[in-house]
Symmetry: C2
Subunit: 211 residues, 2 copies
């Protein structure tokens, strides 16, 4: 593995386990048995590492959301989306835990994130139009407009919600898969009233999303 | 007005208009034509002001959510709840804008907020049980459990969502009533699939919530 990738890999693990806030570039260098100078040769500061990790997260999300709007979608395809998105959130969970703070600290990241968010919401809305056409869901345009925004807000606000309220118990530094699973459960309940046909059955037998 | 109340009143206005982050105790003292020393006599630091403002916000929310679970609720009562809650959020909007950061900076506030959040979610769930009994909504226990959590997350995450995504346009330092109105709209769409009887009509003719 290239040094640059090794730094990114270790940073992601440390940020997820200990939260971005409490991990410095010195911690990352020490974890890799590397001098801070060597780390700075590849990334000028922690913000540069976070920015690069965000780009990778963004690229993976974009890949998942490529959808052929003329294709025939099944409920299995929809579940596959959810599985991919849940897995991606799990892998980059520190981003969701500390997003507000990260965006406040880096104007370039904020700009990039806004473009990303708008694109994902548009893609999600398109997928819903296809689902409606296929008879998987039944909802008006106004309902779908509200639904896609609610799905985005629940998904991206879930980690801060768990931390700020402790409604499902105090949160350790790291998030558990069970905690993210509960978030998926909440999103499924947003969709549930609009599901039709096979989709209703599929939701009821929804297996854990980490396969 | 007592000096202590004047300080709280001015702080709330400045935090709302300019965000909590960019307002110092010196700004607050200057706004009141008061020496910083006089301000410190009443509040030892900005955190103490924020904590006191939170207590007032909390008390008002608690008053709204007192509900006689044996009473007969109409859809008009439900709308009155929403109006009160929206008005309260509007008045203390800086809290919702910067909550994550405020909670990270003050362990006592985090503890207080958690107790408050758990209480509000319990009360909201109770109100829904009453609404179900009255035939205003039709939903299973599992649906109501998911619904109350989704309502809480959308309500409290709305301001950070507007800021981080700019989906509804770039946010000024202050939030507009229109922006909060859109959040209420999103919450109404969470409820909509479960509404029965008069409630469906009432939602469609929903007036702006700032009367």
């Amino acid at each position: 593995m290239k040094t640059r990738d090794r730094i990114l890999f270790a940073s992601l693990r440390l940020f997820n386990e200990q939260s971005e806030r409490s991990v410095t570039t010195n911690h990352i260098a020490a974890d890799l048995g590397m001098s801070p100078g060597n780390l700075y040769y590849h990334f000028r500061n922690k913000e540069a590492i976070i920015y690069e990790l965000f780009l990778r997260y963004e690229q993976r999300t974009r890949d998942f959301l490529q959808v052929d709007t003329t294709a025939s979608l099944t409920w299995e395809d929809i579940l596959a989306y959810f599985r991919s998105i849940a897995g991606n959130i799990w892998e980059y969970r520190f981003l969701h835990r500390d997003m507000e703070q990260l965006l406040n600290n880096d104007a370039a990241l904020l700009q990039r994130y806004r473009t990303f968010a708008q694109e994902v919401i548009r893609s999600g809305r398109q997928i819903m139009t296809v689902m409606t056409r296929q008879g998987l869901i039944a909802a008006s345009d106004a309902e779908l407009d509200a639904l896609i925004i609610n799905i985005w807000v629940i998904t991206t606000s879930w980690a801060p919600f768990l931390h700020s309220t402790a409604v499902f118990g105090e949160l350790d530094t790291d998030l558990s898969q069970e905690m993210i699973q509960r978030g998926i459960h909440q999103v499924m309940y947003l969709l549930k009233p609009y599901l039709r046909g096979d989709a209703v059955q599929a939701l009821q037998s929804l297996p854990p999303l980490y396969a």
